[in-house]
Subunit: 245 residues, 2 copies
């Protein structure tokens, strides 16, 4: 099934790289602009695991036309990423120099903790035109799925990475009205401990793989003490319980 | 000009209200999902000024089919907003009870400092099905336009409203790697003063009306001392200068 919708005129521009925010997971949460650029890009690049599997590629799979040049940027765990981005920037740069347009797929939003910025810096410093198309970030998608507004009025909202040590987590959480704690993974137990200490567990909601079919969400306090969290998970906290109150 | 694109099957659902994130201003920065719902909604509601002018309505103007029932929720400056949302929720609720679908337009993302949450709470408490479709927030759009990534790695990113007093602003900014200071308007001079005191002016970028034709952006230090900022403006700060370094 398909529908008519407005095209983005005059995009993409030859010789330009676009960091495309493709949204949190549900294919329809891509913007019209990113969708349009994707239809016409000559080259499509995306981050992938060592085995070639790419969540970004999977998200937009229904939208990618056939016959495109594809570049999987394979990030190897435990190895330095800089040489990988160096090589990817050189490969992409060659296509740009040939007048091709390159779409770099970015889960969520490219500039919100996204690895695209490492390519962006390299390509821009090499003199290539690079544009960023903002996308729906996982933080906004998690809030929407949970029915839990992030922040309102004069609330301070903090985005706090789970890998920070417990002291820093405690310090940041103590000084905010609302928080999104990201990158939980193996830091989940430590993060829960701090939230508990601060008496915020009953204000905390947990969600993983927001908008994907495997999505799971639950009040944090209802998870078993030994629950595990994947990397793509988040805890949202609001001190008032509901932001609108 | 128009193109084929995937429809969102089985949406919208009769008797449901949708808070639609419509993005920061450029009409193409709406998601396929919000666009699809908008095409089929029976009723379209949006916040408006007293005189009826609505930025949200203007943003999606190219996308609204003819013949829809429209509800302008007129917010009057200096008057309490609660009775206005009460009345709007009752009006929308009547359409929902009739089995109609209602799209509520929300600039940016509905749950990121958006007024939709006040309707969301009222409609949900009255027992109506309410869904939120996340959107591209102004924060992500400002970063994209500026070419300035918001945060990377284990950065803490704070969203700080300009109306907070200088002491609170200082305290929050001192404890963060990166910040987005929103709702500047008449608080602009105070905010600039605090940023200056903390020695962060050369790390700060100013942008107003991101992605609209009237967009303006400039390093904060290059603005004249008496510069004014509209409500739809933002300062982005990163302590390292560029998040990817």
């Amino acid at each position: 099934m398909s529908a008519e919708f407005p095209a983005s005129d005059n995009l993409p521009v030859a010789g330009t790289a676009y960091g495309l925010g493709i949204g949190p997971g549900e294919p329809d949460l891509i913007t019209l602009k990113a969708y349009n650029i994707l239809q016409k890009a000559d080259v499509i690049a995306y981050p992938a695991l060592e085995d070639g599997v790419s969540l970004a590629r999977q998200i937009v799979d229904p939208h990618i036309p056939e016959g495109r040049i594809e570049i999987a940027i394979r990030i190897e765990m435990g190895k330095p990423a800089d040489p990988i981005y160096d090589a990817a920037a050189i490969e992409i740069g060659k296509h740009l120099a040939d007048g091709k347009t390159v779409a770099v797929l970015c889960e969520g939003d490219p500039f919100f903790y996204g690895s695209f910025m490492y390519l962006f810096g390299r390509l821009a410093e090499a003199g290539h035109p690079v544009k960023t198309v903002p996308g729906v970030s996982s933080m906004m998608a998690c809030a929407a799925q949970l029915g839990a507004p992030l922040a309102a009025k004069n609330d301070v909202l903090q985005v706090i990475p789970g890998p920070l040590d417990a002291d820093r987590l405690r310090e940041q959480l103590a000084k905010t009205d609302a928080a999104a704690i990201i990158k939980l993974g193996r830091h989940f137990a430590k993060v829960r401990g701090v939230i508990n200490e601060l008496g915020l567990t009953d204000r905390a909601r947990y969600i993983e793989r927001a908008t994907l079919e495997t999505q799971k969400m639950v009040p944090l306090g209802e998870l078993p003490a030994d629950a595990k969290a994947p990397y793509f998970s988040m805890i949202l906290i609001h001190r008032r319980g509901d932001a609108w109150r």
